[in-house]
């Protein structure tokens, strides 16, 4: 895999690059946050890169690491058939990243999803609503410190906490005790 794309970013935005590597067929550049839209726009419009498709935006929560979050952008060029992964570091206290919704249509919903799941705010996004969860939901479920089973019912439901051991016990107590067959 050639490192053409990494070199391109390093050449034009040397100050922004924190780290870069090419591993397992993925070229990755770790960037500072603030000039991201500029870099992405350059990558999209320059003829030698022509990254015209945004494949995915996601975030990774490295709990107990500073900076805690990383927002990952996967760019692809349909004509040149090459791919570049940009990783942007985001602090926990200032959990924002610049929005690139004006560059790619797809970014609008992807950023909404990252906001929904990780709580990373995107500056300049016109419609930053929850997309998969509902408005009443508090917190961001894919953060590592959000408990897996902490549900927030919309109805005032009878919510039985699931406890499989207890379920089995209830089942067993309801039956007369029976001697095991083979002992």
């Amino acid at each position: 895999m050639s490192k053409k794309l990494i070199d391109f970013v390093a050449k034009h935005f040397a100050d922004e690059v924190l780290d870069s590597h090419s591993r397992l067929g993925n070229d990755t550049v770790v960037l500072k946050r603030d000039r991201l839209p500029e870099i992405v726009e350059r990558l999209r419009d320059d003829e030698s890169t022509a990254m015209n498709m945004l494949r995915a935006i996601t975030s990774v929560d490295y709990l107990n690491r500073i900076p805690r979050f990383e927002v990952v952008y996967v760019l692809y060029s349909i004509s040149k058939k090459h791919m570049l992964t940009l990783r942007v570091v985001v602090e926990e206290e200032d959990c924002t990243a610049p929005s690139i919704h004006h560059l790619y249509g797809a970014a609008g919903w992807m950023e909404r999803e990252v906001w929904d799941m990780y709580g990373v705010e995107f500056d300049g996004h016109p419609d930053l609503r929850r997309v998969l969860l509902y408005e009443e939901f508090e917190g961001h479920p894919l953060r590592k410190d959000y408990a897996k089973q902490a549900s927030q019912p919309r109805l005032d439901l009878l919510v039985r906490e699931r406890d499989s051991v207890e379920e089995f016990n209830v089942f067993y107590k309801s039956k007369p005790s029976e001697g095991s067959r083979d002992s």
């Binding site: 499989s164 051991v165 379920e167 089995f168 089942f171 309801s174 095991s180 083979d182 002992s183």
Partner: protein
């Protein structure tokens, strides 16, 4: 090496005759009536009736079909399971509940005093069968899990699962 070509799909242009609906109605009717008459063929072999008459004619499931669990038995008719917890660990749905007990027979270390599968949580993935190190649990009973009218009816306990089980032929314990 493969040869991959890009080709355009042909969009059809309707003729005036086709726009009049008539040929398409006829064509559609020809398809459906040909199905109809084929199934009226006096030679029953040539009919292609697709419907299964399920409750009257029981469907035979393929050999690999994952259905109701069964617990396999040893030669002496006791359960093979040694309560190693592999199946309940790998189960993504967490639907197997095992409590281990000491066995009187010194050659057998442990056996399950309680072995319950919540069939209403089981997602029939078959990971438990792969995880079992002693061929004790299988899902090839050739039966599907029966529906239940009450939640509690779906807990299948050890004795029920053993009734379905057969003798396991797996030999264990080296050349012993």
């Amino acid at each position: 090496m493969g040869n991959v070509t890009v080709k355009n799909v042909d969009r059809i242009k309707q003729t005036l005759w086709e726009k009049s609906y008539i040929p398409e109605i006829l064509r559609g009717l020809s398809v459906t009536t040909s199905h109809f008459f084929r199934n009226l063929n006096p030679n029953k072999e040539k009919r292609t009736i697709f419907t299964r008459e399920y409750p009257e004619v029981i469907t035979e499931y393929p050999e690999r079909y994952r259905g109701l669990h069964r617990l396999m038995l040893r030669d002496d008719g006791q359960v093979r399971c040694v309560a190693c917890m592999c199946c309940s660990t790998i189960c993504p749905a967490d639907c197997i509940h095992i409590e281990a007990g000491e066995h009187d027979d010194p050659t057998i270390e442990k056996y399950p005093t309680v072995f319950v599968i919540d069939e209403l949580r089981c997602i029939v993935c078959g990971l438990c069968v792969e995880a079992c190190p002693c061929d004790a649990i299988r899902m090839d009973s050739g039966r599907h899990i029966p529906p239940s009218l009450e939640r509690d009816e779906a807990f299948f306990d050890r004795d029920l699962l053993m009734e379905l089980g057969g003798l396991s032929e797996a030999k264990q314990g080296g050349q012993r």
